[in-house]
């Protein structure tokens, strides 16, 4: 079971990390605590903090795009003022000068995801003549040219497996 103390601690950690990176947690404290409780429940049953508002498969590789912060957060913040579950909001929403809009899920459907997975297996990478491959963080777009992506994204703090080869 998730304790209130665990929820408080993760809310604090997320708030600190968010502000340091220029992101903002939803100022509706009770709503935010509910979502964070959901993140912790997901960590307990799946082993990672997948989005509380999406159905996880339990297979980390298939759920990578919905581990919080999800691959869609920054796109949704730009378009709607909030991320899909509502944990993160833009500065103007946080300040109360803008009401966030309902966010439709932009995660591809299960059918589309299966198709994409198959394509990724069959499509060969274009050969490059760069000295180093370029890696892109799927969450925040950070790019770096080095043999392997960093262990943790220096911008948004997600783990190495959230990077894709960009060039």
């Amino acid at each position: 079971m998730v304790s209130d103390k665990d929820v408080d601690r993760l809310v604090q950690d997320l708030a600190r990390e968010a502000e340091a990176g220029g992101y903002h947690l939803n100022p509706d404290r009770e709503f935010t605590r509910g979502l964070v409780r959901g993140l912790l429940a997901n960590r307990e049953r799946y082993g990672y903090i997948s989005c509380p508002c999406r159905l996880a498969s339990g297979n980390r590789e298939d759920d990578l795009d919905i581990i919080c912060p999800c691959d869609y957060r920054d796109l949704d913040l730009a378009d709607y003022g909030a991320c899909y579950c509502g944990l993160y909001v833009t500065a103007d929403v946080e300040a109360g000068v803008r009401t966030p809009e309902p966010v439709p899920d932009r995660r591809p459907s299960p059918v589309e995801r299966r198709k994409k997975k198959e394509e990724n297996v069959t499509v060969a990478r274009a050969p490059g003549d760069l000295k180093y491959p370029v890696w892109r963080c799927r969450v925040c777009g950070y790019l770096c040219a080095r043999n392997e992506p960093p262990e943790t994204c220096p911008i948004c703090r997600v783990s190495r497996d959230r990077f894709e080869r960009f060039v």
Partner: protein
Amino acid sequence: MQYVPGDDNHKVVLYALSTCGWCARTKQLLTDLGVGFSYVYVDLLRGDDQGIVVREVERWNPRLSFPTIVIDDSKAIVGFREEEIRKAVGA
């Protein structure tokens, strides 16, 4: 499926996740409106049970997102769309 008793003018089924804030708001809205409805937390189902319900949701909403509210086996509302929900249940 759990059932919340109330006004049964419409058949209302709520597919939800136990961890989702918008699902919680939807359930609260239906309760406050006094609507009788059935609901299921799809994330709490295991194995085949979950597979069966997932296919049910996908029929109405191929994106398989939550909440999905099915009204009178004929219309689905996806997401916490308060006005749409109120209108559909006639409240």
